[in-house]
């Protein structure tokens, strides 16, 4: 495994880490793995912020 991956944060359901070689963020959520660059990560964050969580959780 790549030695330059650094965990940024982790919880039970997933973790966010950063690979210094490829300058890419690895977002693991349950069985979903996303490799994103800084812009993409920002965009994903913004998108998630727009979601109406209450609605989705109770649908």
């Amino acid at each position: 495994m790549c030695k330059s991956i650094k965990a940024i944060s982790r919880v039970k359901s997933g973790e966010l880490s950063f690979c210094e070689n490829y300058k890419s963020f690895h977002l693991i959520f349950n069985n979903i793995f996303l490799a994103l660059n800084k812009t993409e990560l920002k965009r994903l964050k913004d998108y998630i912020d727009t979601l109406v969580i209450d609605y989705l959780e109770h649908k």
């Binding site: 650094k6 965990a7 940024i8 982790r10 919880v11 039970k12 880490s17 950063f18």
Partner: protein
């Protein structure tokens, strides 16, 4: 073979689930070793449970770059998941006082993985899980029927832990071990059933419901060391603590405690939301702990022993069943009930009594009589019957055995037209307080009936004694002027277990036809005074037991030659250097009590043998008093040498004699005891032990005398001391 509903269900359940229970038990034994092996790992930290969460977190924060979770596993070891300075994840056992890594997480060994799967689901997924749950429930029922059977056999709750009558090895230990392991087995099975139900979602949901206490607050942020909530809980209550994912205020600490779950604001430390753990999940956690023994060494050991006990129950239970099947006799009547002059009725629980009845039946048939043999429950009219003979055992607290339950009712309803002579033979054991009680009841019931006249008084037989049965046959022959001969079935003797003994010395018979026989085992064997030497004469192979006195590593027996005694006659004709085959039987209940301060030994006749050995073994300076009852002074000569020797060495403190044929007034050993009541009271009060060996008649009179003394002087019945194990008996 007759069987009660409890015994029947106990057996049927055992047979039907044997294979599954066997698998579950064997894997259970392996799995019980897992918590034991985990517990001995060096990851436990003393007093860690008293440390507050705030302190532990501070230490970890100082030590590591980031902390992700802090939790406690089932063994109470603290686990930290952290991010190191290099940005690497790591999870390990940690010392919460120093933050130091204690070791890598214990990986489940493949053998335990395999055993867990087999134990849980037999590798059959859901089907397997269902089967295991079902058979766990069966085992629970087996345990319950087992408890019921013990209660019946012992005669009530109070006697649950009373002494068990030993019929054979399997039966004895099936009961003795059963009494101690039934409770753990009930717990194992019930928790097992619960865990299965849980897997099939058959229990109410245990989902946590969070109640919001505070949404967002604008209070000022404080460091986590200052969080009131972390200060107020210790590691003892902690299950797990999950740190917030990001620095966003909406991410919070999730704190799992034993009884609740809290969401805690990562800046203010206030509890935002709280959920109580449901009763179902608390029960489920306890079931898991009780079923697997995780975290507790002692309970895991109990589980391990219980599993081994279950294997033993399977072995002993099936051996007993097979033995009983082999020994059971089928009733094959030649004549119908209305053609027979002799009617034999049997009340039997386990089939032993039926065997005696069958022998009598065969003897009558051989003598060309018309006989009809049946169970007491099938009592009916008998047109030409002249004799009714009842053979019955007693079950529980003087109740009827299962195949005699309806007899009382039938007897009231059915009237015989002609007069019938009756005899009742009761079978039982003197170890139970209700010895032959049901036979007494049957005798009384028949006495009340008009058409029945007694032929012989009620006859009681202790422990299936063949000799007693022969005596009864003799009486019966005399009363009916017949000459019946009973073919007693020769029990088989395992010749391999017999050992060779050399005759070292044999004395001539004295006035009472008593002699001393000194033997030496050719092979080295373990034995002590009070153990028994078993002989099996060729004629009948019936076991004869003699109490051993160990004198200078040889076996000393005191034997009375009986007029019709097969074994004693054979032994009396032995010469020096002859070889005799016999077997030593350990009799742990009748060894010299080296823990006691003072010992009183009471014997009559040949019962002195074990004491002759014990006196000379007493090197611990225990005060020992001997009481012996014999016929005349000459009777005593046989033993005087050994007793003098013990006296000289100072092993014997006092010696009291009672001669029943020496003076005008007959003096028995119990009379001498009554004179020495002070000594007896002192010994009993000082936790001393009284040992009795000799004839049953002497035992009864001695116990009566002791009871009078204890009741009048110590204000307690003798049974109090008996229960204290201060009275040891070996009488015949």
């Amino acid at each position: 073979m007759t069987i009660s509903i409890w015994r029947y269900s106990h057996l049927i359940l055992a047979v039907s689930s044997a294979l599954f229970i066997f698998i579950a038990t064997v894997t259970g034994i392996i799995l019980a070793l897992e918590p034991i092996s985990n517990q001995i790992q060096p990851f436990a930290v003393d007093n860690a449970n008293d440390l507050s969460l705030a302190e532990a977190l501070e230490i970890l924060h100082n030590e590591y770059e980031g902390v992700i979770t802090l939790e406690k596993d089932e063994n109470d070891f603290v686990i930290a998941s952290i991010i190191t300075a290099e940005g690497k994840n790591d999870m390990f056992y940690v010392n919460p006082f120093t933050g130091e890594k204690l070791g890598e997480l214990i990986k489940k060994k493949p053998i335990f993985e395999f055993a867990t799967n087999l134990h849980r689901s037999l590798f059959l997924k859901s089907t397997g899980r269902f089967l295991v749950g079902l058979f766990s429930f069966f085992l629970f029922l087996i345990a319950i029927t087992g408890i019921k059977l013990i209660l019946k056999r012992q005669g009530g709750f109070k006697r649950f832990f009373a002494k068990v009558v030993k019929e054979n090895f399997e039966q004895y230990f099936h009961i003795v071990i059963g009494r101690y392991t039934l409770i753990p087995i009930v717990i194992i099975t019930l928790t097992g059933v619960f865990l299965s139900l849980e897997k099939f979602n058959l229990l109410p949901s245990d989902k946590l419901v969070h109640k919001n206490i505070e949404n967002t607050s604008h209070a000022e942020s404080i460091g986590i060391n200052g969080f009131h909530v972390f200060q107020s809980y210790t590691l003892n209550e902690l299950k797990s603590l999950e740190f917030p994912f990001s620095e966003d205020e909406e991410d919070y600490f999730i704190l799992n405690l034993k009884d609740k779950e809290l969401y805690i604001n990562q800046y203010t430390g206030r509890v935002m939301s709280k959920a109580d753990i449901s009763l179902v999940s608390i029960v489920s956690t306890w079931s898991m702990v009780l079923h697997t023994g995780q975290g507790t060494f002692v309970w895991a050991m109990v589980l391990l022993l219980s599993c081994i006990a279950i294997l033993f129950f399977m072995y002993s239970g099936f051996t007993m069943t097979i033995k009983r099947k082999k020994e059971s006799v089928k009733i094959k009547n030649k004549y119908t009930k209305d053609e027979a002059e002799f009617i034999l009725l049997v009340g039997s629980e386990t089939g032993h009594t039926q065997r005696f009845a069958k022998q009598f039946f065969d003897a009558l048939i051989t003598a060309n009589h018309t006989v009809y043999l049946d169970q007491l429950n099938k009592y009916s009219t008998y047109k030409i019957a002249k004799h009714l003979i009842v053979f019955t055992a007693t079950y529980g607290e003087g109740e009827a055995p299962s195949n005699a339950k309806n007899f009382e009712g039938l007897l009231k309803m059915i009237r015989q037209k002609q007069t019938v002579k009756y005899s009742v033979v009761g079978f039982g054991s003197l170890m139970y307080p209700d010895f032959c009680k049901y036979a007494i009841v049957v005798d009384a019931l028949l006495q009340k009936q008009k058409n029945f006249i007694p032929n012989l008084p009620l006859f009681k037989i202790n422990n299936q004694s063949h000799d007693a049965f022969k005596t009864w046959i003799q009486q019966w022959n005399e009363s009916t002027s017949q000459d019946l001969k009973i073919q007693l079935t020769k029990p088989t003797v395992n010749k391999k277990r017999l050992k060779n003994f050399e005759v070292l010395n044999i004395t001539d018979c004295n006035v009472d036809d008593t002699f001393l026989l000194q033997l030496k085992s050719l092979k080295k064997q373990k034995f002590k005074s009070g153990d028994l030497l078993a002989f099996y004469p060729e004629e009948d192979h019936i076991e004869r037991l003699y109490s051993i006195g160990r004198v200078e590593d040889t076996i000393l027996l005191s034997i009375k030659k009986h007029k019709f005694g097969v074994c004693s006659k054979q032994l009396s004709t032995q010469k020096q250097h002859n070889m005799i085959k016999a077997r030593i039987k350990r009799n742990l209940d009748f060894h010299f009590p080296i823990y006691a301060k003072e010992v009183i030994m009471i014997a009559n006749g040949t019962g002195i043998a074990p004491f002759l050995g014990m006196m000379n073994e007493n090197t611990l300076d225990i005060k020992t008093h001997l009481f012996w009852g014999g016929r005349t002074q000459q009777s005593f000569q046989l033993y005087s040498k050994l007793i003098d020797k013990a006296f000289k060495k100072g092993y014997l403190s006092s010696f009291n004699l009672a001669y029943s044929r020496e003076e005008d007034e007959k003096v028995y050993v119990q009379d001498v005891l009554m004179e020495k009541e002070k000594l007896i009271c002192n010994v009993l009060q000082n936790k001393g032990v009284i040992m009795i060996c000799g004839s049953i008649a002497m035992q009864n009179s001695v116990l009566e005398a002791l009871n009078i003394i204890t009741e009048s002087k110590l204000q307690h019945p003798l049974s109090v001391f008996e229960n204290n194990e201060q009275i040891k008996m070996d009488c015949y």
